[in-house]
């Protein structure tokens, strides 16, 4: 087989992503009208069904209104879009990291992570504590075992601790936001310097975090979380603003 089957959907996805990025980057500003279905289909070299699907997705994301009679008007996404769009605002389809939304997301991540740690200390079960200890041990071992731990490996180990924390917090919004944050972390990790010095010796707040949750101490858990995430926030903010 020379080629793999190209799903019809991936064509609609690609059109959606291009239009979405044009809107987020204000290339198609709020109030402007998108080209007609026919024009878009010609420009993109795809059939009109794919264009229609892409436009429906833009509408569902509250990025456009489809006016009766066919026109598609761009909305002010900062006012109309919701959290579901955040990961797409942070990283464009071609992998460009947008600095300002990235920093905004990191701040949100810190504040939600701190509250998740607080809730986890109040609500964690014995099984939850066991899972946290396991994942902490893995993170510490990863950190110690590898002379020059790759950022991606270390980040993944920390992320698994956070998943256990948000699970223990029993706040489903935090759980799903965490999924979005993780997806962005993977993108951000590309920005980390190869020698990874930025993330060295950062297991300490995680040790404190897990201990505090296990001891059902919300204030200590919040403090440790604030430390762990604050470090990440500062490092990433520096890297993202340099990259932009």
């Amino acid at each position: 087989m020379i080629v793999n089957p190209v799903a019809r959907q991936s064509v609609a996805d690609a059109v959606y992503a291009q239009l979405r990025d044009a809107i987020i980057d204000d290339v198609q500003p709020a109030g402007s009208t998108l080209p007609s279905e026919r024009e878009l289909s010609e420009q993109a070299g795809v059939n009109r069904q794919a264009i229609r699907e892409a436009l429906q997705r833009l509408r569902e994301a509250n990025l456009v209104t489809i006016v009766h009679g066919g026109g598609v008007r761009v909305r002010d996404w900062r006012r109309t879009a919701d959290l579901a769009l955040l990961p797409e605002v942070v990283v464009s389809a071609d992998g460009r990291i947008r600095p300002e939304p990235s920093m905004a997301m990191l701040q949100l991540r810190t504040v939600l992570g701190v509250d998740a740690a607080r809730l986890a200390a109040e609500r964690v079960t014995p099984e939850g504590i066991e899972l946290l200890r396991e994942r902490l041990a893995t993170a510490v071992a990863t950190h110690d075992a590898v002379a020059n731990p790759s950022s991606a490996t270390m980040i993944a180990a920390y992320e698994r601790i956070w998943i256990a924390v948000v699970d223990a917090s029993k706040n489903i919004a935090y759980r799903l936001m965490n999924n979005s944050f993780n997806a962005a972390s993977v993108q951000f990790s590309r920005l980390l310097p190869a020698d990874d010095t930025a993330r060295r010796d950062h297991t300490e707040p995680y040790v404190r975090l897990v201990d505090a949750i296990a001891a059902h101490d919300p204030d200590a858990a919040a403090d440790a979380a604030s430390h762990a995430l604050g470090v990440a926030e500062r490092v990433m903010t520096m890297l993202v603003s340099n990259s932009g």
Binding site: R78, V89, V111, L112, A173, R175, N179
Partner: protein, 247 residues
């Protein structure tokens, strides 16, 4: 409820968009997955079978499936079919917003509680950050908003004070917080009036609003966060069964 006659009065039905059929099917499948009725790892019926069961055309089924895929609820595996994913680990926040309103018209209390908590935490942090920059014009606008609150008659209906919080959020310039706020507005717009009442708990705490604005004006970040927390706490606690520890 009567509708004034219009030029289009001769129309018997309004057009039913193809999307609304896909919307309904999407909602049904989403509920089945979120409730666990369709377990993670299981296969959904084929497109053809779903179309027959739901009595809709296959294009609507395809749209519904694509939306589930985008939300991280299913994987469409070439040659195998549609597999239900593990939404807790793979889905995005979009699922949650869809899940607030259950198929039977009720609200998912767990989801509402978790979103209200997120609102409280994000807005309190926005207040904290705003206290660090405290632009004069923003303080002036917030002050006049509080003055208007105070001028309201005592029996004025409570409101979620979206205008106040929206201004505060915009002024702190964090787009992630703004999107979180929009999420709240989107949900509130669909809430029945009695539920909006819950979201408005704390709306009569005018003294706290006053202290919040003055803390921002004075650059006292901790006090600003504390007052915001006081105002928004009651609404989150209405739904939150495990009581937060007193501190």
């Amino acid at each position: 409820m009567s509708t004034p006659p219009t030029a289009a009065a001769s129309r018997v039905v309004t057009s039913v968009s193809r999307t609304s059929v896909a919307d309904q099917l999407h909602a049904q499948l989403r509920t089945a997955i979120l409730s666990g009725a369709q377990a993670a790892g299981s296969l959904l019926p084929s497109e053809r079978e779903l179309a027959e069961q739901a009595g809709v055309n296959r294009q609507a089924v395809r749209e519904a499936l694509q939306r589930l895929r985008q939300a991280g609820l299913i994987d469409i595996v070439q040659g195998e079919g549609v597999r239900v994913g593990n939404w807790r680990s793979d889905a995005t926040i979009a699922v949650l917003l869809d899940g607030v309103f259950q198929a039977n018209g009720g609200l998912d209390v767990d989801i509402v509680a978790s979103l209200l908590r997120m609102r409280q935490v994000a807005l309190a942090d926005a207040a904290r950050r705003l206290a660090c920059t405290r632009p004069d014009d923003v303080v002036a606008t917030l002050r006049s908003m509080v003055a208007e609150m105070r001028a309201e008659p005592d029996d004025a209906p409570s409101t979620p004070r979206f205008e106040f919080w929206g201004h505060l959020i915009d002024s702190c310039g964090n787009v992630a917080y703004r999107l979180a706020f929009n999420t709240q507005l989107g949900i509130a717009a669909r809430l029945p009036p009695e539920m909006l009442e819950f979201l408005s708990a704390g709306s009569k705490m005018i003294d706290e609003y006053d202290r919040l604005v003055e803390a921002i004006a004075a650059g006292d970040a901790d006090a600003a966060a504390h007052e915001a927390d006081n105002i928004l706490g009651p609404a989150s606690r209405l739904f939150d069964t495990p009581a937060p520890a007193a501190s």
